[in-house]
């Protein structure tokens, strides 16, 4: 079976979340993706930062190969560890670029320029290269172009925090590194379209992605309201600008929740019938959507009093059976056992070689399927520098003596020379302190049955 990106080689010189994840998705699609890191600059995802975890909460001796998010994003890749601050490292990078189709990087704009590896320079040695640069605020001469950035702080600047929050409350941050993923997908779109364009014209190009710009794009309707009507929008929590009632209500059990959204008078009548609340169905003040919006608090109380007696999945089936959009708040645990996710095979199991001591783990696959081409995670993440020798000697034809010299000088490496493991809190302690919502000590058995 031909995979969509068979035969495409990608140098993935990117860190953290946005483009490393794009590289992992490209590996699923058949590309040969080479994750490039410096000996003293292991990816931050390896350290257990940014809510990453280790198998059985044990970092182990080679912790840099074992973190959860590193393993999710770097599935199916090869690993090359090369010191780009050394001229020999940069020379090998150039040779690698010459036999590759795509180069991805996310350094602040001055870094690749300083190394003479920015697009104008790479293009001289590989005219049809497709290069992707992902930065916080984008290249160019704008006032923020040199500002350091990560998703957490960008969610504020690109408008997401302003529109997110409980009604009447302060701006609120998203629960995860939200904007990174917008760049992941934008890059996938741009790269594959640029590959197609290159096939047709023979020409490569430079893609200049700014996370700030992707994030701002997702507030487009708020921007339009500001531009046209001078309005700055507000925080309406779980409510909808038009539909009512809509919200997130308690279900049976500890910290269990159901969402629902009523968009028509028929759905409202059906909801009242399910709740056994004829009085609300007959209340003229609630007969239309504007009345229901005005009395939203009162309706919320009635809904919550009803939903809290039922299981969240059962509520979904009951409400959907009456044509009312509804769904449970699924947690990171729930998604492993939910019948719909399981039926679609959204989580894919990756089995590690015995010496990695990582067992078999389920990982997020992709949110799209192709009718003719089955795509799946093609293998586990590589260990740090696992493919140094095959890539440098095999692919680039470096002689063995030079390779040994590079290894001796730590221009290539198979263990990081710096980087700190984040301090871990044991699971039971984490639950007590509110860092984790719950803990299943028997999760491995539960996952085995899937």
């Amino acid at each position: 079976m031909t995979l969509p990106l068979d035969g495409i080689r990608v140098v993935d010189s990117t860190y953290v979340f946005a483009l490393p994840y794009c590289g992992g998705l490209m590996a699923d699609l058949g590309a040969e993706v080479i994750k490039l890191e410096g000996p003293g600059r292991p990816d931050i995802s390896r350290t257990g930062g940014l809510a990453a975890t280790f198998p059985e909460a044990d970092p182990g001796e080679d912790w840099w190969n074992r973190s959860s998010t590193y393993n999710l994003m770097h599935r199916g890749k090869r690993s090359l560890v090369l010191d780009m601050t050394d001229e020999r490292g940069r020379d090998l990078f150039r040779q690698l670029a010459c036999v590759s189709d795509v180069v991805m990087e996310n350094f602040t704009p001055r870094v690749m320029r300083g190394w003479g590896l920015d697009y104008p320079n790479l293009r001289k040695i590989k005219p049809d290269i497709i290069m992707v640069s992902n930065t916080g605020y984008g290249h160019g001469d704008g006032p923020y172009s040199s500002y350091p950035a990560q998703a957490t702080t960008q969610e504020a600047t690109h408008g997401h925090c302003w529109i997110t929050g409980y009604p009447g409350g302060p701006p609120s941050k998203a629960g995860a590194s939200f904007v990174d993923f917008l760049s992941t997908w934008s890059a996938m779109f741009a790269i594959t379209a640029a590959l197609r364009y290159r096939n047709r014209t023979g020409q490569g190009q430079w893609i200049d992605l700014a996370m700030y710009q992707s994030g701002a794009m997702l507030t487009s309707e708020y921007l339009m309201d500001a531009i046209a009507n001078g309005r700055v929008g507000g925080r309406i929590g779980n409510r909808h600008p038009y539909r009512a009632p809509q919200g997130c209500y308690p279900a049976l059990g500890d910290d269990q929740w159901i969402t629902l959204s009523v968009g028509s008078d028929e759905q409202w009548s059906a909801l009242c019938r399910l709740m056994g609340r004829d009085d609300l169905a007959r209340d003229p003040a609630l007969a239309n959507v504007s009345g229901r919006r005005d009395n939203h608090d009162r309706i919320d109380e009635a809904i919550g009093a009803w939903t809290c007696g039922f299981d969240k999945h059962e509520l979904m089936h009951t409400l959907q059976g009456e044509g009312i959009p509804a769904g449970p708040v699924l947690t990171g645990r729930d998604v492993h056992f939910d019948p719909h996710y399981r039926s679609r095979g959204f989580l894919e199991r990756v089995t590690y070689p015995a010496e990695r001591n990582m067992g078999t783990r389920p990982f997020i696959g992709r949110p799209y399927k192709f009718s003719r081409t089955p795509v799946s995670i093609r293998g586990p993440s590589p260990t740090f520098g696992q493919h140094n020798q095959p890539l440098l000697e095999g692919l680039l034809g470096l002689d063995h003596e030079s390779y040994r010299q590079l290894a001796q000088d730590v221009v290539v490496a198979t263990a990081p020379t710096s980087g700190n493991l984040e301090v871990r809190v044991p699971a039971e302690e984490a639950v007590k302190r509110g860092l984790m919502a719950a803990w299943d000590p028997d999760y491995r058995e539960r996952l085995e049955d899937l």
Binding site: G49, S145, P170, T219, M224, L260, R361
Partner: protein, 397 residues
């Protein structure tokens, strides 16, 4: 001058919602020739605000406008036999169809992927739906909040002790559109090599779930369920009030913890109770008090460039009007001016990313209802103007 990135790609956009419209708009932004086919009464999105001047006129929905830039538009009623014949006549002329009907609807009117592919071998059809084409919930109704809940992200958004919190706007829908464009582009690239089309099945819920890397693996690696934020003592890394709004700061970047303490002029941040992430989490309320006290009279616009100079990861909470006049976005030419036949001249958010060889081209307004009917039906399909009038009388178009 090189052509557009997707020049020559012809797309039919049958979607009425945000995700499908955004997907096909992205294809149009980068050079594809996109025709939006709406029912004669107009796509559902025309009824959704914000509206220009708060006038609920179907040509004044700013949401419809911004999701349908750079497209042409025609109307057709797929509930009629003649309408379906029109679609069948258009299909051989296109490369891609984007649709977001309930799974099974197009099959039920004889226009499923298999039938359409017989008319046009190599056709790529991208279906973007709340739960995907298969699985026990595939026919359930989605809504933004439902996709958000089932995509896990609500479980970690908001505060402990309160209900999970949806993010503002329609993020899940946009995410569906981004993945729709990416998956369509993957299928188009593969088509060049294999000659085979694909029915692409995008699940909006799975788009949201795809962002939950740490949340999902926390269970797979440790059996833990990720929690929402604590109600107090976790403001560091979240918006904190200052003199004229809110700022946000996180450790890392090029700045050491000493640099950050120096920036806030707060030497007590160097005490051992704040020495690492675990200590800071334990003493969060005290840390918040120190930082908020230090900035309470300061302006976010003074702090922002100073923090950048200190190589700190630092942001200011911007509202939409601030973003709409942001000099950085201007420098990236993110906004474009269009001339809309009903609204007039207006600025729109336009450019998702910049490209050296095939940049975003001219920005054109969304089509008015049926704006290109004559061009599509007379010039494109060879109907006479009388036949088009008759189709209009029969409410086919």
């Amino acid at each position: 001058m090189p052509g557009g990135l997707l020049e020559g790609v012809k797309v039919l956009d049958l979607s009425e919602d945000i995700a499908g419209a955004f997907c096909s708009r992205l294809l149009a932004d980068y050079g594809a020739d996109v025709l939006k086919l709406e029912p004669p009464e107009g796509a559902a999105l025309r009824g959704m605000g914000p509206f220009f001047g708060d006038d609920t006129h179907p040509e004044k929905s700013l949401f419809f406008l911004v999701m349908n830039l750079n497209k042409k538009g025609a109307t057709v009623n797929l509930e009629t036999e003649k309408g379906r014949d029109i679609l069948k006549a258009l299909v051989p002329q296109v490369d891609v169809i984007v649709e977001s009907y309930r799974p099974g609807y197009l099959e039920s009117i004889g226009l499923g992927y298999e039938a359409l592919e017989r008319l046009n071998p190599g056709l790529v059809m991208t279906s973007i739906t709340p739960f995907g084409q298969t699985g026990p919930y595939s026919l359930y109704q989605g809504e933004e909040i439902v996709n958000y809940a089932m995509g896990m992200i609500m479980s970690i958004s908001g505060l402990q002790g309160r209900e999970p919190l949806k993010h503002g706007g329609f993020q899940a829908q946009y995410e569906g559109g981004l993945n729709g464009a990416a998956a369509t582009s993957i299928a188009l690239f593969a088509l060049e090599r294999t000659g085979l089309g694909e029915h692409v099945d995008v699940s909006v819920t799975e788009c949201v779930a795809s962002t939950m890397m740490a949340t999902q693996t926390m269970y797979a690696f440790t059996g833990g369920t990720q929690a929402r934020r604590r109600a107090s003592g976790s403001n560091f890394g979240n918006p904190m009030p200052c003199g004229d709004g809110w700022i946000i700061v996180q450790p890392g970047g090029g700045a050491s913890w000493e640099d950050i303490a120096g920036f806030f002029g707060a030497p007590e941040m160097l005490e051992s109770r704040f020495s690492d992430q675990a200590q800071r989490a334990l003493h969060g309320e005290e840390l918040d008090e120190i930082v908020i006290g230090a900035i309470k009279d300061q302006s976010k616009w003074d702090l922002f460039p100073k923090a950048a100079q200190a190589r700190m990861l630092f942001g200011v909470v911007q509202d939409p009007s601030e973003l709409a006049r942001c000099p950085q976005l201007e420098s990236r030419e993110f906004f474009r001016e269009i001339e809309h036949p009903v609204i007039g001249q207006i600025k729109v958010p336009a450019v998702l990313f910049n490209m050296s060889l095939t940049p975003y081209g001219e920005c054109r307004p969304a089509p008015t209802l049926g704006q290109h009917n004559l061009e599509i039906y007379v010039d494109g399909l060879g109907y006479t103007e009388e036949e088009v009038s008759r189709l209009r009388e029969q409410k086919v178009i």
